[in-house]
């Protein structure tokens, strides 16, 4: 994947979170403050605007760093710094390579996950986006080790992410706004995990050449 492919990913992610903004906000209203959809749509719109500014031949790493910076600057809320840091870390991990292969992407995804973990201090089971992102990254790496191609590995990541999202329902939130609810947070999906699946889905679309 070259810079254009990564720009396509950001654009596709913006389309998906905007299309599903209502659903994300409704999930957030149940256990948070009902703004996750707006935050994601605002943040990724800013990311697209930043990516549009970049030169044609930009390297993948710079695309993700620019997108991440824009999201941090424009989103606010918990999701802004978290998604922004994830993308910036992924971009830094890619360095200056002009063409990213399956293993290169593995390193980037791992870096994104580490960034979210460090900043948010959440572990799996806390009912956060980590519950979707962590299994997705693991599944991607496993698939790559078994020689899968990009599209196949990303499909595995999305499937694992979706399973992780579903698994957040029975959990009691220990991080983020939902944690204030304690037991009352049980029985609802985590909005950030839901948006994480959408962002992974956007990358799958690009890998499939549908972005």
């Amino acid at each position: 994947m070259n810079g254009a492919d990564f720009s396509a990913w950001i654009r596709r992610a913006a389309e998906l979170v905007t299309a599903d903004a209502e659903r994300l906000t409704t999930l957030d209203a149940a256990i948070g403050d009902g703004d996750h959809g707006h935050n994601m749509a605002r943040g990724f719109a800013a990311a697209v605007a930043a990516v549009d500014e970049l030169p044609e031949d930009v390297v993948p790493g710079r695309v993700l760093v620019a997108a991440g910076r824009a999201i941090v600057s424009k989103t606010g809320g918990a999701s802004g710094p978290l998604y922004g840091t994830a993308l910036r870390r992924a971009g830094k991990a890619l360095g200056d390579v002009a063409d990213v292969d399956v293993t290169g992407l593995a390193g980037a995804l791992q870096a994104a996950l580490d960034g979210v973990r460090e900043l948010g201090k959440a572990v799996e089971g806390d009912k956060t986006m980590v519950d979707a992102l962590a299994p997705a990254v693991a599944a991607y790496e496993a698939a790559v080790e078994n020689g899968a191609d990009l599209a196949t590995a990303m499909q595995a990541a999305v499937d694992a992410g979706e399973t992780g999202l579903e698994a957040t329902a029975p959990l009691e939130a220990r991080k983020g706004r939902a944690s204030y609810l304690g037991p009352r947070s049980v029985g609802h999906l985590d909005p950030g995990a839901a948006s994480t699946v959408l962002v992974l889905l956007a990358l799958l679309d690009v890998a499939r050449g549908e972005g």
């Binding site: 403050d33 009902g34 703004d35 707006h38 802004g80 948010g120 983020g176 706004r177 204030y180």
Partner: protein, 331 residues
């Protein structure tokens, strides 16, 4: 939705234009969304910066001025500000003595202020941070995000602001801010939900005869939903929760009876009377009382009670002159 607004997406800059028009003592940038004391930076004085989602007015912009905050960064309604705003405010008020960030304990606020602090330090501004977490409605634990920051924020900003105005160094100002937070507990009760302009519908549904005990200042659901009670019952529920977490008997306190935005002042005074009676009956001396809508949730009906156990020093700093749009005395 009965809103006195123009475009829901423009509520914050539109309100900031009004703030600028009403208060010449403030330097307001509606686009950058930063509100700064007109005389900032004051060289040698520690700068105080706070911020958070909009919809809690007068918090925080209404507390910018002599003896309190040097700058405020209002985010979107109920959404924390972004690092850019916070950095702009921090550098604008840095007078060489460093800057204290007063942050309410919400993940979004904490993360955005943390990123801003790192960026500001890149520009050689020393930043200290105090995280306010006084809401006893939330069970605390080291594994969770912890308690929410609510009414104590006003006490912290006023008292730390007074010490900074006296010329105290950053570590001392940060220390008194943490002390006020440690000595304050709050509990809120909602009698109705509120509507975020961008959302257009109430954040939660509540029947006419219900109330939400331990509600958050973003209309987050609280501890539990019960049948609406009398003012005396509501105040007792709040003060009992506070007292269970921080025993009040025998202490001298600062009392805030805070309207959430949609409850008339007449009724806030009814609650104040009930609170004064409960405290007197439990051996608590009320040194100072503040009644009114200071930390609000848009038009949510209900009230929040905050109690700070005073020391002679804290009382002196509370009484020190302050001159802001929403809190003013002594000058």
């Amino acid at each position: 939705m009965r809103k006195l607004i123009n475009d829901p997406a423009e509520v914050v800059p539109d309100a900031l234009r009004g703030l600028a028009a009403a208060h010449p003592g403030l330097r307001v940038d509606p686009e950058a969304r930063v509100v700064v004391r007109a005389d900032a930076p004051r060289s040698g004085k520690v700068g105080l910066v706070s911020g958070g989602g909009s919809g809690h007015e007068p918090l925080h912009a209404g507390f910018v001025g002599y003896g309190m905050l040097d700058a405020a960064c209002p985010g979107e309604v109920f959404t924390s500000p972004v690092p850019d705003q916070i950095v702009a405010a921090t550098t604008a008020v840095h007078g060489g003595a460093g800057v204290l960030h007063v942050v309410k304990n919400y993940t979004g606020d904490v993360l955005n202020f943390r990123m801003a602090a790192e960026l500001a330090e890149d520009e050689d501004v020393e930043v200290a941070t105090v995280v306010v977490d006084d809401d006893v409605a939330v069970e605390d634990s080291t594994y969770t995000a912890g308690r929410r920051g609510t009414g104590a924020t006003l006490f912290v900003e006023k008292i730390a602001g007074a010490l900074a105005e006296e010329g105290a160094p950053l570590d001392a100002v940060a220390a008194v801010a943490r002390e006020v937070n440690d000595r304050t507990r709050s509990f809120g009760v909602a009698l109705s939900a509120c509507t975020v302009p961008a959302a257009g519908r109430p954040t939660f549904q509540m029947a006419e005869d219900e109330m939400e005990l331990g509600v958050g200042i973003h209309g987050e659901p609280g501890r539990k939903r019960v049948r609406a009670g009398t003012a005396t019952e509501i105040v007792e529920a709040a003060l009992t929760a506070v007292d269970a977490d921080m025993s009040l008997a025998g202490s001298e306190v600062l009392l805030l009876v805070n309207g959430m935005g949609g409850t008339p002042l007449l009724e806030q005074y009814v609650a104040c009377g009930a609170a004064a009676e409960w405290l007197a009956g439990h051996g608590v001396t009320v040194a100072r009382t503040l009644v009114g809508p200071f930390v609000t949730s848009l038009e949510m009906a209900g009230c929040m009670i905050s109690v700070c156990r005073l020391t002679p020093d804290l009382l002196r700093l509370w009484d020190a002159p302050v001159e802001t749009p929403a809190l003013r005395w002594g000058r």
